[in-house]
Assembly symmetry: C2
Amino acid sequence: MIEWKNFDELESYNKLMGLKGKVKLSKVMEGEAGAKRVAEYSVPMSNGLAYNYASKQVDDEVLNALSDLAKEAQLVDKFAALYNGEVINTGEKRLVLHQLTRGQLGDKVTADNVDKREFYVAQQERIAEFANKVHSGEITNAAGEKFTTVVQIGIGGSDLGPRAMYLALENWAKKTGTFKMEAKFISNVDPDDAASVLNSVDVAHSIFILVSKSGTTLETLTNESFVKDALKNAGLDASKHMIAVTSETSPLAKSDDYLAAFYMDDYIGGRFSSTSAVGGAVLSLAFGPEVFASFLNGAAAEDKNATNADIKKNPALLDALIGVYERNVMGYQATAVLPYSQALSRFPAHLQQLDMESNGKSVNRYGAPVSYVTGPVIFGEPGTNGQHSFYQLLHQGTDITPLQFVGFKKSQIETDVTIQGSTSQQKLCANVVAQIMAFACGKDNEDKNKFFAGERPSSIITGEQLTPESLGALLAHFENKVMFQGFVWNINSFDQEGVQLGKVLAQKVLAGDTDGALKAYSDLLGI
Amino acid sequence: MIEWKNFDELESYNKLMGLKGKVKLSKVMEGEAGAKRVAEYSVPMSNGLAYNYASKQVDDEVLNALSDLAKEAQLVDKFAALYNGEVINTGEKRLVLHQLTRGQLGDKVTADNVDKREFYVAQQERIAEFANKVHSGEITNAAGEKFTTVVQIGIGGSDLGPRAMYLALENWAKKTGTFKMEAKFISNVDPDDAASVLNSVDVAHSIFILVSKSGTTLETLTNESFVKDALKNAGLDASKHMIAVTSETSPLAKSDDYLAAFYMDDYIGGRFSSTSAVGGAVLSLAFGPEVFASFLNGAAAEDKNATNADIKKNPALLDALIGVYERNVMGYQATAVLPYSQALSRFPAHLQQLDMESNGKSVNRYGAPVSYVTGPVIFGEPGTNGQHSFYQLLHQGTDITPLQFVGFKKSQIETDVTIQGSTSQQKLCANVVAQIMAFACGKDNEDKNKFFAGERPSSIITGEQLTPESLGALLAHFENKVMFQGFVWNINSFDQEGVQLGKVLAQKVLAGDTDGALKAYSDLLGI
């Protein structure tokens, strides 16, 4: 029997609060004991990845308390309830089924009178068939010429995740010969976004994907008009250049305005939709359906790991619990995501949405205010670039920010140069390793300007290479981490009521229905 | 006589601390009083910009206390000392002269036996002459063909600022017919960065700018080798395709490896170098020297505003002081930068470096630890994209994050569509206005899941259009804001000792000089 209790109603809450500041990193990471810790504080993941938490401020006692918390809060049981089809999204009274897009973890889940796993697989197959026809030239533009570019029109989860995944695999696909078409993205309602993307593509050879679950997202419909205008101005029939990804009940479904429509549903939130048709259409067109299938397999393998009740065998769960310790016990407010991989340049922006939109809540799943802090601020840029930018504050600033590193042994393109006795890839890896130790242990110096206090906790996910499989695993890891943290905080990680008020007020401004400060601000911007 | 005192040694410190939480935004922003506040809490800037702080948690009493702080801490006097050539960068014992690249604010500054204003102007003129020759076809590749692409090789300040400025003006330049050449950037030591940029350009028609003040930045020299290999593999003479931006004393100066070298010096920190040759070469090649000159004029006008002792006539100073109030009195840890302009997509990343690398310090300018918090975490993405991503946490999260909006009346490309009675630009502006009010005033709701507490402070910088002049003004505003905050905190905003330890340890790893945890981590990544 699952009980949904607030975090501070649990026994393990008080126990954990008593363990604040217990571990001194510069002490535990010293000498051979430190080496042993690096070897032992590691959880194998799928697809060659591993989660290493040696430089986190935990020890056996803290880990035991976190394990007790996982049990008392029934975290893996709650995950099981989720994938077995319970109504976990209490606010919107919906199931939460994004894991089903990549595998069947538990019972068959029936909703809307269909087996949802079969439904998602069917959409993936329809997309694969469509993409193969585009690649083979069976589906072409009106002149019978092949499409060369795919442009996704979507915002938020219909943009950040798919864009981050595309950028993560673009060079890999080019290197491995699986690259099919260039992808571009239009998201912002700023007219310069659509105009500049449209100026940069050959519209006659472009296929556009309109992505909106409801079919009513204002930014997306506005940008669709932009695209339709551009196609019309080029003397082209827009309906021969556009497909839709939407829900079956949306106005976009079964419309003659689109070459085809592929379906998602209300059980998949935008920020969790990269493995659904939202990511599937653009990634299958860009790289082929096999690459997308490999990406899903990577995610499925990591979902499986997330079902393990042992926190030392469940990397997402452990990562989540350590994050809770840092947030609620240590009191840290932000977390930096720092991938040492240029291909992951927009992965932090995706995680920023995933985490902050899911867990930036002040009420529990029943709508009652909670009296502890929930989701942190998430930010990040790839290393080594970040080292020459904001790392100064991370090393010597007055607040401590926990860090989440990611690093791979091999580059994707595998073109490299040797300078001063090492390759670029070796330099990249040497830097991330060096940073972890610098953050953990610091360095004394009589000149306090050159003094490093250390005690800055970090974890690292290591891997062989960023491939479709390891990318899928990485994505699922963070999705599951965010989910587990939401369970600990007893919040609903699957709605986003916080975006509504701004929408309502923007409509008022556009309708001229303003007074007071809202009118005064509108005047400032000439609307 | 200037005195450098710690913030908490000032009388105004205690007075400010007593003013915590004095202003309730939902109250002061209500009704016609709110409208009046929007009209009055505004400081005109140059080039059509204005800084509006109506939705900040300040009132006349707080503003008076901030004004007293400005006087007691001698903030504009310290700025005057800086631009008159005093050694403000105490750690490295250097002058701080980036403002001189765009104008002479005070006395002549002589260093290294030259008038530094003349020196910077001379570099700008040499760059202009070079760029004009490239554009006219007087300087070409070996085959006598025009260069079509410029690629900047640099990291940190040699990358983020110039890249953000290029993206900010690319569409404007295309629209106004001033666009000359596409620019690309190679920064990361990840070999996939250089390899993928090189795969995307026609090296035979590309001119490369190597940017490194010291001429020894490992990432940049490594990437130069990448480029030289690519040129060699294409049968080209690298020295006919490369220029350098460096200091006169660096190994890159006066080398036959480069077509030309343009100079910066130790008095301009990387993160403040966009208006020096570091930004000048790439922006002059991309858009022409006149556009770069306009950009400098915009910055110069805003520098002039920053000399005003009246906080209500000095937008950068007021912005800085309100930020200090938020950081030290209200206790907020992060600040989000939210430009409603897709062209400013990388402006937040630049400000992240500018702010966090300058003010992420724990010791004062004499190396003594400070007992108050200094620079905040900075992050941000363009609106409206952010609204569909992390705004959930900003609206309903458990911590408050102050917000810095930017918005323009007109788009840059001025191609637009009307949907549901409004243009995209109107929708964009309506959204930023709506967000400010939603954050400030919130909204009650019996369903606490839909409840907005409000009291989230924000400011907005508004403008007519993002042009070279207004971009320059915007950049200088934030540079000066960061400088003033550093003065309040009595820290040295112009060094970055926090980046050194990681570099030293990375060299150890590459040399195989490791043991303990450092060796164990190195093993994880196969180095």
